[in-house]
Symmetry: C2
Subunit: 578 residues, 2 copies
């Protein structure tokens, strides 16, 4: 079984020792009553829900999958009850606006809980994260009346959310979408079109499903400036706010997928469905991006959670399974063989997973903290930093999460390939995180074009300056400074060369994102090594930091070369020769 | 659908231009009548079988899977007929001994056909490759009578093969296996024990299944020196060599796996089954390794074939799918968007797949050629080289094949995750190739400990000397020489440091194998660029070579660092801290 236990000790270390959240929160009056004890209790409760309610349904949900019949979707056994606990516990409204019954907790704390929920059962949590995302979008752009109607019901999970962007012919190119919206006399709109890949578009977990649908008004400009956003509820709320008339849209089918089989992914047909404008006409894409930026961090946390889940399985297996002998000394001299953990190559895999996962956790918290600083302390530098780091969080956390899942699977040998142990499911489930919410290639192009080139690299330079000012353990100083110098040089070169070489940003984007990610992880490892206590937990942190600097950070040497390779190496091949 | 077309033009280029096989074969009288035309015809026929018979069953076989009932296994629809064509066409006996109705073709040619069959349908071809492997083992170690009985029937595919090594508690550690064999009065043995993960152990494609089973004799020494190998046929051949009495073993169940669902993987229970000693008592492991070395190259070809199959799907999709606009110039100005191929990041992925796959093909042929030189020209240097490169072929070709499948899947965006397009199946299917026939970690340890450290790196040094003597295009000279120098230095350091640091070889093994693989691919790309004709095909080769040197070879910079990192970075963590 895929057992999962929330890494409470690491979470507390990161919160209280590494990021000293009490000092951060001291400037934010909203969080004045967030004592350490309360934070610990919230984490413990979340961990119980994840480990005891959600995780036990992870494998059964995969095996059973969802069932579609005549437009209705049945989710796997137990999902309804578990979702009711997730929703009923207030977890979906954790960072929600208190004026509408949200709990108003910092995003930083939300990140930790999201990681747990993703780790425990990514299919089940998808019904939740879409709901959180829809609420964020409504909170930011809707009218007071719309907020009053939808937010409390989304925060409570009585109603869930779905985002309807993708059309079959358009994919990531939203500018060429065709769904249309026509104004009716009563001020509502008739929405018509077909959307694909709609996660949680139809299911049986909630009494209503609130679709946020992108469509074009008749007189809209062409391309991405002519897209509006609409609230399209499955049941149209009556005067009292209860689900009323069934709206005229339905799930046409669900996809059969590589993974996340407990999550229903629908083709949605909107057939003159009643929708309500959310925000301004033709400003739909910008409004949707409010949601997508949070979703992107959330999907990054899916990658992170998968890495943690995979690590827990593989570390346990490697400690229990005996095979072969240590080359230096038998560790289990009375048994027929030593545990897998004596082998250097097994340790290489486990430590890679662990070093990437623990740094990834610190990184995701750092991004969450910037979102809090931007929102609650109106810190514009934090706002810029959160925008710079969001695509990195989405792509780097999911690429590394996939790498970690595959490595953990490898530790199991043949048992990693059979379904019984569940570890192959982690690989299948996390793979989608590299694709949805904008593929990781799109994240990389967003990073390079919009977040680095546009401001000439100045947001990144500020971050690096702050990092350079921090205390670093002697053992890591040289390595960290070299990595920071490398990133800074490569960034300056990229900014400069991109002026002459228009294809360079696109062809270098993914490698540049990786270079940035690995460099920031080096900083976080140095910081963790500096901050870790003088006990067993702290010793393990320092061993991981050593591993990271010796065995993972060197990847940046390759990336330095590939980012600055001429774009001709990628662009010169004739299109017809592929 | 997963369409597959054998890359005939590339195969002919590699055979006739790159490796000049006619010059190689001139020293081997066995191959005197292998004209270019005959070779072309064999490849074309193999390509037709792969593309038109095997490939159309790839997705349906995955979806249907195998069914177990009361010890019987039903393979997916169409497999029986397709296997009959594969077997009936003589493909399983292609490299078989002509004295027993094999076709006596060079392994080099066999590699090309194996790649096709793996690419077209890896589940179906598994029934074939185990048969080829069993025949190789019998040919090398069995008595004349055994050869006469089994080889013609295996070469013709009337009977198929299976290897029964793994036991549940032992995994890769064959020394601790428990299955036992007791001599009977008639000279046969009673075999008792349970084996797991037995590919093709039971199925409905052939009239008999020949198991090669490892077991211990009662008085056998402990550990791996006390293991003997037995031929254990499903139906005991009668005097005329026809399948007679049903032997007392059976499939207890089949595994539910991540992929290769059309291939039945059994738990096999041998209950006093009748077996015949193959080779000498207690020499079973060595005999089995004869088979495993060929199987390892074959499994490498599985990885290679997956890369080619994945490339073909992704390249077609990227040419047809329109999304976004080129940053330099619209390529499809009249359409709503440009094809995916205009984007640098899409090209990065496709070119990575292609550069790794085409170099991998050349590499696998080079290894196949060494096997031929060793066997047919009794060239001892080639024998040493084939032993050095076999673990690299197994691990590097499958690790890169998996990387390629994942990249190709990424090109498809969301469509890569749904089952309909089939590309997610390639990822699931090829994943096993990194695990079975000895995990890739075990291959890496074999490479470092047995093939490099044992002879102080001298076999590798000879290879590198020969490479340095070759003509290289000016554009790649500096890059190649630097890569060769790097590998040579790292190897010398590894050999020297391993004397003091016993844990270094194990902890560095995987990275060292990768360093060797990437360096050899650089050599092969330089050689291909030198040899490629002055036409469109040759231009594409040179573009790929440029891409490889600019964008992939830099990975060796990271590996140089990580191989030589102190083993303490991996070994220092306390076992209890994992």
């Amino acid at each position: 079984m895929l057992e999962y236990q929330a890494p409470q000790q690491d979470l507390e270390f990161l919160l209280f020792d590494l990021f000293r959240v009490q000092e951060v929160w001291a400037d934010m009056p909203q969080f004045a009553d967030l004592t350490d004890d309360l934070v610990r209790a919230v984490l413990e409760e979340g961990g119980k829900l994840a480990g005891q309610v959600m995780a036990p349904l992870n494998q059964s949900g995969d095996q059973e999958g969802c069932e579609w019949q005549a437009g209705q979707v049945r989710t796997p056994q137990g999902f309804k009850e578990a979702f009711a606990e997730l929703a009923g516990g207030g977890w979906l409204g954790l960072s929600g606006n208190p004026d509408y019954s949200g709990q108003g907790m910092p995003k930083l704390l939300g990140c930790l809980l999201e990681e747990m929920f993703w780790a425990a059962n990514s299919s089940l949590y998808l019904y939740g994260t879409l709901t959180v995302g829809a609420a964020i979008c409504i909170e930011a752009h809707a009218s007071e009346a719309q907020k009053g109607l939808y937010l409390p019901r989304l925060y409570s999970g009585e109603w869930t959310g779905a985002m309807a962007l993708t059309e079959a012919h358009a994919g990531s190119d939203l500018g060429i979408m065709r769904s249309r919206a026509e104004l009716r006399e009563d001020g509502s709109y008739a929405i018509t079109g077909t959307k694909i890949f709609i996660t949680s578009g139809e299911h049986d977990l909630a009494e209503n499903i609130v679709h946020l649908v992108l469509a074009r008004l008749p007189d809209a400009p062409a391309g991405s400036r002519g897209i509006s956003l609409f609230i399209v509820p499955k049941f149209i709320p009556d005067e009292a706010g209860n689900p009323g008339v069934r709206n005229s849209f339905a799930s046409g089918s669900i996809e059969h997928k590589m993974g996340i089989n407990g999550s229903a992914t629908s083709v949605m047909n909107y057939d003159g469905a009643t929708g309500y404008l959310l925000g301004e006409e033709n400003q739909g894409l910008a409004a949707m991006f409010t949601m997508m930026n949070y979703e992107r961090l959330s999907v990054g946390l899916q990658g992170l959670g998968a890495g943690e889940l995979a690590y827990q399985q593989a570390a346990r297996y490697a400690a229990e399974r005996v095979q072969g002998r240590s080359v230096s000394a038998a560790r289990n001299a009375d048994g027929p063989a030593d545990p897998l953990l004596v082998h250097g190559d097994i340790r290489r895999m486990l430590l890679t997973v662990r070093a990437l996962t623990e740094a990834g956790r610190a990184f995701s918290m750092f991004v969450g903290m910037q979102l809090d600083l931007a929102k609650y302390a109106e810190n514009s530098a934090a706002q810029a930093l959160s925008e710079l780091l969001t695509p990195v969080a989405k792509a780097f956390l999911t690429d590394r999460g996939f790498e970690c899942a595959v490595l953990a699977q490898q530790v199991f040998g043949g048992h990693g390939f059979v379904r019984e142990w569940g570890v192959e499911q982690i690989v299948r489930d996390v793979r989608i995180a590299q694709i949805y919410e904008g593929t990781n290639g799109i994240q990389a192009m967003d990073l390079v074009n919009r977040k680095v080139l546009r401001d000439g690299g100045s947001t990144l330079r500020s971050l690096l300056e702050n990092i350079r000012a921090e205390a670093v353990p002697e053992a890591f100083r040289v390595g960290l400074v070299a990595a920071l110098d490398r990133l800074e040089t490569v960034t300056a070169e990229l900014v400069s060369r991109a002026r002459q070489d228009a294809e360079l940003p696109g062809s270098a984007a993914t490698d540049y994102l990786d270079l940035l990610g690995y460099t920031l992880y080096a900083w976080l490892w140095a910081r963790m090594a500096e901050t870790a206590p003088a006990d067993e937990f702290g010793d393990a942190k320092r061993r991981c930091a050593e591993f990271y600097f010796a065995r993972i950070l060197p990847r940046t040497l390759a990336l330095e070369q590939t980012v600055l390779a001429n774009s001709a190496s990628v662009m010169a091949m004739d299109q017809g020769a592929f």
